[in-house]
Assembly symmetry: C2
C-alpha cells in the first residue's frame, strides 16, 4: 500500500516511527506493508515510487530540517500539489497545521488528492469544520475512503465510538471537553495559578495551537463540535453555526468560588438542538470534570442511558495512532487484510 | 435478512420492540429489513419462513407466556435445536440465560447454528468464557460471522472500543468494573446499608443473575475478563485461569473505613499478565470509581496513555442494542448495506 505523507511535523514523524517499530506486527497481523512513496514539508519533498527508506527519512528531517534533503529522493521546492498530482499512491495522509479561517492549504490538498483518485486520511479540523459536507460528498462521488478520526479527540476514538453507539441505539445529544489546552489552564487555575501563568505553562508543555487564541476563545472546541455533530446527527453544520464563548473571561477567583461549592469550571461543547461551546460550572464528580489535558465526551442515548469516553486529546504519538487506525481500516476495506491470519480466537468479533 | 431468535426473555423482547420502533430508520439508513423466521422459548417455537408478525409475537409472548401460542405459526414443544436444524436463516440471535458451569444449552445451540451455516450473534458469556477459542475457531473454519459485543459491558461497546484502540496502538493491560450488581451493592454499603439489605435492593431492581452468587463471588466479572482478555491479547484463556475473589467478605465497616481515607471499594477485574478479579480499595477520584450499576474499563495503551469508557452494563434494552449493533455489522459486511444511502456528509468516516 502506497502512502503520500503531507506535513512532516510531530504527527507524521510519529507515524513514521510507529511504522518502523511495528513493522513486523503490522505485516503479520494486518498484512499491511506500507511504502512511503512521497513525503512533503514546507521546503520540498522526498519521492520514491519504490518506497522511501523510513529510517533515513526520519534522520534527514530531524537533522537537516527538511525531507527535501533526502539523498537522491529529495526534491527541493517541490510542493504538495505537485506531489499529489504526479505521484501514484493509494492514500494521502495529511497532517499539516490547522487553519480555521479558510481551511487552506489542507482543503486544496484533500480536494486534489480525491480528484486524482486517492483515498484520504487526515487529522485536520479546518476543512471539515468550515465546509460541512464538501469533502465527504466529493469522496462519496469519487467512491473514495475519507477518514478523519484523529480530528476529534486525538488518539481517543470518539468518532468511532459514536458510530458504534449509533448502530444499536440513537444518540440524542452529547457534551464534551474537546480542548486539552483550555482544560489544562482551568485545572491550573484550580491549583492557584493566574490565567497568564497557566497559559504560559500550557505553552511550555506544547499543548497550545500555534495561535493559542484558537484554543482559548473556544474555536478549536467548536470545530470539533461541528465535526462530531455532523457525524452523529447527519447534519451539514459549519463552524459559523456554533455559539462560542471561550475561557478568556474565567478568572482564578471565579474558579475558587466554584470550588467552595464542590464545583469546577470546564469548557463544555454541547451537541444537539443548540450547538454551543461555553465555560460551565459542573460538579467535581461529573464524568466531564476531567483534569489536565484530557478530553472526554458523554453521549446521551435514546434508550441506553449515557456512555462516556475519556483519554488524551492530543499529542503527536496519539494523533499518529489515530491516522494509523484510519489507514488500517481503509487497508482492510480494500481487501488488503490477510484473512488467513485472522484465525485467532475472538478476533472474529473485532470491528474493522 | 432472516433471523432466528433463541430465547424470548427481556433481551430478545427488547430487540423485537426496537426492530418495530426503528423499522423505517433501519430500512432507510441501513437497508436493513429483517424477517423473524423463528422465535424459540422454553415451551416451544413460532415459525414462519416469510417472517413472523413482530407485533403479534410480542403480544402473544407477553399475554400467553410463550411464542408457541402464536396463531398458525406456533409450534408447542418444538425446541431450539429442531428450529436451528430445519429453518433457513442468515443469523441466529441467541439470548438465553448464561450457564457458567457447562455453557449449555447455549454452547450446543451456537455449534448447531454454525454447523448449519448460520452466522451467530450472542450476548451469552458462558460458552465464550468456558471454551476459549472453540466457537470462534469453528466460525472461522465455516467462514461465518460470530459476534458477541453484548457479552461484555451490555450496551457499552467495550469490545468494539478495544478493537479500535488495538489498531492504532497496543493495549498492554486493562482494569475494569464489569458487574453492575456488585457495584450497586458496594455503592449501597457506602450509603450505610448492610450487605444483606444491599443485596436485597439489587435483587428488587432486577440487577442480579438468576443465581446472585455468580455476581457476588466474582464469576460474572471473571467471565467477562476472560472474553475481553482473549479479544485484546489474542490468548485462549478460560474461566479457570482467572484468580477470582468476590465481594462476599466486604462489610459495611470495611467500606466505611475506606471512606475515611477518601477511598472506595470496587470489584476490579485486571487483564494482563496476572488476570484476576478482586475487591480493591481505590481513590474516590479514580475513573474506575463508578457508582450504582455502571460498568467501566480503562485500557492502558503502549504509547497513548489510557482510555476509559463507562456506561450501563446491563439491562434488556441495552443488551438488545448490542445485539442489533452486531446484526447490523454482519448485515453491512454481507453487502446488505445500501451504499447509495451512504452519501450524507461525515458518514464517510463511520465504522461498519
Amino acid at each position: 500500500m502506497k502512502l503520500i505523507l503531507l506535513g512532516c511535523g510531530t504527527v507524521n514523524l510519529s507515524l513514521l516511527e510507529i511504522l518502523l517499530e511495528r513493522r513486523l506486527d503490522l505485516s503479520a497481523r494486518h498484512g499491511f506493508r506500507p511504502k512511503i512513496v512521497a513525503a512533503v514539508d514546507s521546503r520540498g519533498a522526498a519521492v520514491s515510487p519504490n518506497g522511501l527508506d523510513i529510517e533515513e527519512l526520519i534522520r534527514v528531517k530531524k537533522s537537516k530540517g527538511s525531507v527535501a534533503q533526502t539523498g537522491s529522493s529529495g526534491r527541493v521546492g517541490m510542493n504538495a500539489l505537485d506531489v499529489i498530482s504526479t505521484v501514484d499512491a493509494d492514500i494521502v495522509v495529511e497532517a499539516i497545521p490547522t487553519n480555521l479561517k479558510t481551511g487552506e492549504p489542507s482543503l486544496s490538498y484533500v480536494k486534489r488528492a480525491m480528484e486524482t483518485g486517492k483515498h484520504v486520511v487526515t487529522a485536520n479540523k479546518g476543512p471539515l469544520a468550515l465546509t460541512a459536507d464538501l469533502l465527504p460528498g466529493l469522496a462519496n462521488r469519487k467512491e473514495l475512503f475519507f477518514r478523519f478520526s484523529g480530528a476529534v479527540g486525538g488518539g481517543t476514538p470518539i468518532l468511532d465510538l459514536a458510530a458504534r453507539c449509533s448502530l444499536g441505539d440513537r444518540i440524542v445529544g452529547f457534551q464534551g471537553v474537546f480542548n486539552g489546552t483550555t482544560n489544562y489552564i482551568l485545572s491550573e487555575l484550580e491549583a492557584g495559578l493566574t490565567f497568564e501563568a497557566a497559559l504560559k505553562a500550557a505553552k511550555e508543555r506544547g499543548y497550545t495551537e500555534t495561535d493559542p487564541l484558537i484554543d482559548i476563545r473556544g474555536l478549536d472546541s467548536a470545530s470539533k463540535l461541528v465535526i462530531l455533530s455532523n457525524a452523529v446527527f447527519d447534519t451539514r453544520m459549519k463552524l459559523e453555526n456554533v455559539k462560542v464563548k471561550g475561557i478568556q473571561g474565567v478568572t482564578r477567583a471565579r474558579v475558587a468560588h466554584a470550588a467552595t461549592r464542590g464545583r469546577v469550571i470546564r469548557l463544555i461543547a454541547s451537541g444537539g438542538n443548540a450547538p454551543a461551546v461555553a465555560p460551565m460550572e459542573i460538579p467535581r464528580e461529573s464524568p466531564l470534570a476531567v483534569n489536565s489535558a484530557m478530553n472526554v465526551v458523554t453521549f446521551e442515548l435514546e434508550h441506553s442511558g449515557s456512555i462516556t469516553i475519556s483519554g488524551k486529546g492530543a499529542g503527536g504519538r496519539e494523533t499518529a495512532g489515530a491516522l494509523l487506525r484510519d489507514i488500517l481500516t481503509i487497508h482492510a476495506k480494500l481487501g488488503g487484510f490477510n484473512a488467513s491470519r485472522d484465525e485467532t480466537a475472538p478476533r472474529v468479533a473485532t470491528v474493522v
